[in-house]
Symmetry: C2
Amino acid sequence: MAKRIAVMLAEGFEEIETVTVVDILRRAGGRVSLISLFDNTESVKGSRGVYFVPDSGISVLSDADFDAIVLPGGLPGTTNLHADKTVKDTLLRMNSDGKLIASICAATSILADYGITSGKNATSHPAFKEQTDINDTIYSDERVVVDGNIVTSRSPGTAMEFAFALVEQLYGSEMVEKVNAGVLARL
Amino acid sequence: MAKRIAVMLAEGFEEIETVTVVDILRRAGGRVSLISLFDNTESVKGSRGVYFVPDSGISVLSDADFDAIVLPGGLPGTTNLHADKTVKDTLLRMNSDGKLIASICAATSILADYGITSGKNATSHPAFKEQTDINDTIYSDERVVVDGNIVTSRSPGTAMEFAFALVEQLYGSEMVEKVNAGVLARL
C-alpha cells in the first residue's frame, strides 16, 4: 500500500519548500496530501503570492493514518502552523508513534517549541536559529539533518536535498537514484 | 519600474520548475505573472497533481509589455504550450524585440521548433534532446545555458540554478547574492 504523507498548507507557506516535497515524493510513489488548516479546499496564498489548492481540509489529519508529516516554512505560514491546535496534537501523536516528522526553514522552530527535537540534532533557517535552539535541541548548521524519525532542513535552496532525504527515509536509496534519474538534482 | 515577467501556466506544468522561477524572481523584485492559457484565472493542474491559481488569463500577453517570458516544462504542459497560437506569436514577437526568452526541461523543444534557438547554444531535458536538437540549435549538456537573449535549462533539479540565471540576466550578479543570502542555494 502506498505510503501516506501529510504536507501542511498554511497561508504564507514557502512555495518552493512546499511543492518540491510534494512533487518529489509523488514521483517516488507517495500518496501525498496537501492539507489546508481549514476544513475546506479553498486555495491558500503562499509567502510569494502563489495560490495552491489543497487536496484536503484539516479533518483528514484525524481521519487518516499518515506515515509522515511535513511542515514547510515561510512566513506567516510558520506562525499559522504554530498556532494550530490540530497540527500540534497530530505532531505529538505521530512523534510518540515514531512516525516520520519533517520540517524546513522557520518551521523547525515549531518542533523545538513542542519538545519534539529535544536531545536531537536539527536545523532551521539561520534566521530562526534562536527560536529553534531551545528545549535541548542540538542545533546543526548542516543543510539537511536526519536524527531518528526527525528530518529537518534550512531554506528554499535546500528543499530539493530535503525532499530526497525524505524519499531515502521512506523508500530507501535505490528510489532516490531512480527518481533522480529524471530530476537531475545535485545531491 | 519593476520588470515584468510572464511565466506560462499550462495544464501539466512541472510544479518545481514553475514555482521556483516565480518565487526567486519575486524575491528579486520582479513583477511576475503566472498566466493561464485560457482567458480566466481558474486553477490549473500540474504534472504531479498540484493545482496553482494563475494571476492572469492569456489576454495579458497582448495587453501588457513583458521584459521576459518563461516556459516551464512538464507533460502535458509542454504539449499544451506548443499548441497555443498566442504563445507562439508572443515568443516570436518578443524574440525579434530581443526580450529575454527562457525555457526549461521539455519546453526548450518549443523554442527549437520555432527557430528561436537556431544558431544558439541551448539545452533541454536529456529525454527531449532529439526534439530540441533541430533547426541548427547548438545542443548543450550544461545545466543552464545563456546565449544572448535565450536562457535554457534541463529539469526540476536544475530549476534553482535556472531561476538565479534569470535573476542575473535581469538584475545582475549583486541581486543574485542578495536573494541567495536568504535562499541558501548551491549555485
